[in-house]
C-alpha cells in the first residue's frame, strides 16, 4: 500500500515537472542521456577501436557523423560511449554523496551532544577543502581511475549536502512531534527514518540533482588533469581532453563534447530548480491529496 502511494506521488511530481517548459527540456535531455548510454552498450555507429589511419581529422560525413579524431576514431561513437561512463560516475557519486550526507546530517542533529558537536565541527572545517584536492590525495595511491572521481565527488558533495540539509533536519528534530514520538518510546533511528528524513528529503533531492551536474563537470576537469578517467575509457572529459591538444589545427572537434557537457549540466540544474517547486506541498495541492 505504501508503495502504490509513493509511486503515485512520484508520477504526480513527474507530471508537475513536465507541465513546465524548462521541466520538459530537462526531462527530455536526461531521458536521452539514459537511453543513449544504454544503446551505446550494444551499438555505436562505428566501433570505438576502429581507427582509420587514412581518415584522421575527417570532416563530418555519412560514415562519421561528427567526423574523426587524430587517430581516425569516430567522434560520435566515442561521445555516445562517453555518455554511459559519465552517467555511471554521476549516479554513483550522487549515491555516495547522498549516503554520506545523510549519515553526517543525522550525526549533526543527533541527541548525543558529543557526536553532534564533533560532526558539526568536522563538517565546518572540512567543507573548505575543494573536491579537486580530495581527488589529488586519492590519486596518489590510486592513480587515474573512475573511482577517484566518484569518491572525491562523493566526499565533497556529501559534506556540502550535510551542511545544507542540516537546518531542515534540525527544525524537525526540535519539533513537538519528534518530542512526542520520543516520549512514546520511539527509537532515535525510527524517528530519523520516519520524521526527520522525510522533512529534509526535498532539500536533499534538489541538492543531489545539482551535485550530479557538478560531478559531470568535475569528471571533465579531473580527466583533463590526468587523474580522472584513465585513457582508453570513453568519457566526455576524455573526448574534450584529447581534442584540446589539437585546438590550433582542428578547433571544431572541441565544440561537441563541451556542448554536450554544458547541455547536460544545464538540464540537471534546471531539473533541480523545477523539482524544488514540484515537491513543495504548499504550492501543489495535488501532493497533499495523495
Amino acid at each position: 500500500m505504501t508503495k502504490s502511494k509513493s509511486s503515485s506521488k512520484f508520477s504526480i511530481v513527474l507530471r508537475l515537472i513536465w507541465r513546465r517548459g524548462e521541466g520538459k527540456f530537462a526531462l527530455i535531455v536526461l531521458a536521452s542521456w539514459v537511453v543513449v548510454s544504454l544503446v551505446s552498450l550494444v551499438w555505436t555507429p562505428q566501433s570505438l577501436w576502429a581507427t582509420d589511419g587514412y581518415h584522421v581529422w575527417a570532416k563530418p560525413s555519412v560514415a562519421h557523423w561528427l567526423g574523426t579524431d587524430g587517430t581516425g576514431a569516430d567522434v560520435f561513437s566515442w561521445l555516445m560511449a562517453g555518455a554511459r561512463t559519465n552517467l555511471f560516475i554521476a549516479i554513483l557519486a550522487v549515491v555516495f554523496a547522498g549516503a554520506l550526507g545523510i549519515l553526517l546530517m543525522s550525526a549533526m542533529v543527533s541527541r548525543n551532544s558529543a557526536l553532534s558537536n564533533v560532526s558539526v565541527v568536522a563538517v565546518d572545517a572540512l567543507i573548505s577543502i575543494p573536491t579537486v584536492l580530495i581527488a589529488l590525495i586519492l590519486a596518489v595511491p590510486m592513480g587515474a581511475s573512475v573511482a577517484v572521481v566518484i569518491i572525491a565527488c562523493g566526499i565533497g558533495y556529501g559534506l556540502n549536502l550535510a551542511r545544507i540539509a542540516r537546518p531542515q533536519a534540525l527544525l524537525a528534530a526540535n519539533s513537538d512531534y519528534v518530542g512526542s514520538a520520543l516520549s512514546y518510546g520511539a527509537s532515535g533511528f525510527s524517528v530519523m527514518l520516519h520524521h526527520i528524513l522525510p522533512n529534509a528529503m526535498p532539500t536533499i533531492m534538489v541538492q543531489l540533482s545539482l551535485s550530479a551536474g557538478t560531478a559531470v563537470l568535475a569528471e571533465s576537469g579531473l580527466t583533463y588533469l590526468g587523474f580522472g578517467v584513465p585513457s582508453g575509457v570513453p568519457s566526455w572529459g576524455h573526448s574534450l581532453a584529447t581534442s584540446v591538444k589539437f585546438i590550433n589545427v582542428y578547433p571544431l572537434t572541441v565544440l561537441w563534447p563541451g556542448l554536450i557537457v554544458t547541455i547536460v549540466v544545464v538540464a540537471l540544474n534546471v531539473f533541480g530548480d523545477v523539482l524544488r517547486d514540484a515537491i513543495d506541498p504548499v504550492t501543489n495541492p495535488e501532493l497533499r491529496r495523495s
Partner: protein, 323 residues
C-alpha cells in the same frame, strides 16, 4: 573572543587531521614511496639508497613527526628531482596562482554581484528569465571548454580577434609586469565568468530572500525607494551569506584554476602539482598538498570569523534567546 579561539583551535585540529590523511595516502601506495620514485626498472640497491636518503626506513610515526616538525619550521623538504627546496619552488608558483585567483575573483564579483542585483530588481518577467538563462548556462560550462572558447575568440595566433596571449608566462615573471598581467587576462576571465555565473545565482537568491523580508518594508517605510532599500539595506543584509559563498568559491576556484593553468601553460601551483605527481616526486607532492589544504582551511577560518563579525545577531543569539 571565545568564538575566535574555539574556531582557531578547530582550524589547528583540522590541519593536523588533514596532514595525517595526506601522509597516509602516500604510505598506502603499493610498494613504498622509494620504489615508486625510483621507477619500475630501478635496481634494488638504488631503491634502498633512496629509502635511507629520505629516511623511509624509519618507523612511520617517526617519519610523520619529522615531516610535521619540518613543516612547522618552514622546512618543506627538498625535491629529489630538481634538488631545489620545495618552499622556494612553491613560492614561485604561488606568484602566478594567487594573482590568478584574485583576478578571477574580481571578475566573478563584478559579474556576479552586478547581474545578481540587476536581475533581482528587474520586474519584467522576460528580463528576469533572460538573466536566469545566463546564470544557469554560465555555471554549466566546463572550465576547460570555456577556456578553449576564449582562446578561439581572443587568443594570439589562433583567435578570431588575435589580441591576447594564450600560452605561457613571461620568463621574468612579474619583473615584466605588463606581459605578466596580459598573460593572466584570458585565464582570469575564464575562471571569473564561470564562477561569476554561480555567484549571480547566489546573489539573486540571497538578495531575493532579503527583499521579501520585513526589513525591506521597514527601510522603505522610512523613506527609501525600493531600489535604494535594495542597495543600501538589502545588500548589507545579504553580505554575511555572500561572504560565506565567496569564501567557499575562492577555495573551490582551485579546481578551475588547475585546469586553466594547464590549458594556458601557466607555471602555477596547480600545473606544478600535476607535473610533480606525473614525475612521482612524492615528497614534493606531500608538502604541496599540505600547503594547499592549509590555505583552504585558513580561508574557511577567516570566512567564519568575517561572517560572525558582519552579523551582530549571531553574537547576541545566546543572550537574546532568553525572552
Amino acid at each position: 573572543m571565545r568564538f575566535v579561539i574555539r574556531r582557531f583551535l578547530l582550524f589547528v585540529v583540522a590541519l593536523l587531521a588533514i596532514s595525517v590523511v595526506i601522509f597516509a595516502a602516500l604510505r598506502i601506495l603499493p610498494g613504498d614511496v622509494a620504489s615508486v620514485m625510483a621507477g619500475l626498472n630501478a635496481p634494488p640497491e638504488r631503491v634502498a639508497q633512496l629509502r635511507s636518503q629520505m629516511g623511509l626506513d624509519r618507523p612511520l610515526v617517526v617519519q610523520y613527526f619529522s615531516w610535521l616538525g619540518g613543516l612547522l619550521q618552514g622546512n618543506f623538504g627538498t625535491s629529489l628531482l630538481t634538488g631545489r627546496s620545495i618552499s622556494s619552488t612553491v613560492a614561485m608558483r604561488a606568484s602566478v596562482t594567487f594573482p590568478l585567483i584574485v583576478l578571477g575573483l574580481i571578475v566573478a564579483l563584478a559579474i556576479g554581484l552586478t547581474l545578481g542585483v540587476v536581475s533581482t530588481l528587474a520586474t519584467r518577467p522576460a528580463v528576469r528569465s533572460a538573466f536566469h538563462f545566463i546564470a544557469i548556462v554560465g555555471g554549466a560550462i566546463p572550465a576547460l571548454w570555456g577556456g578553449l572558447l576564449l582562446i578561439l575568440l581572443f587568443g594570439r595566433g589562433t583567435g578570431l580577434l588575435d589580441v591576447l596571449p594564450s600560452q605561457g608566462f613571461p620568463e621574468a615573471g612579474w619583473g615584466n609586469f605588463g606581459s605578466a598581467l596580459a598573460s593572466l587576462v584570458l585565464p582570469a576571465l575564464t575562471v571569473g565568468i564561470i564562477d561569476g555565473a554561480s555567484l549571480m545565482r547566489y546573489t539573486r537568491s540571497a538578495l531575493g530572500d532579503v527583499m521579501n523580508s520585513g526589513y525591506m518594508d521597514q527601510a522603505m517605510a522610512c523613506g527609501y525607494t525600493r531600489r535604494q532599500a535594495a542597495l543600501k539595506v538589502g545588500l548589507r543584509l545579504a553580505t554575511p551569506q555572500l561572504v560565506s559563498v565567496v569564501g567557499l568559491m575562492s577555495a573551490g576556484m582551485i579546481t578551475g584554476v588547475m585546469v586553466i593553468e594547464n590549458l594556458f601553460a601557466l607555471p602555477g601551483i596547480g600545473a606544478g602539482l600535476v607535473t610533480d605527481l606525473g614525475n612521482r616526486d612524492l615528497i614534493a607532492v606531500q608538502s604541496e598538498l599540505f600547503m594547499l589544504a592549509a590555505f583552504f582551511l585558513f580561508v574557511g577560518f577567516l570566512v567564519d570569523l568575517l561572517h560572525r563579525f558582519l552579523d551582530p545577531r549571531l553574537k547576541h543569539a545566546v543572550q537574546g534567546g532568553v525572552q
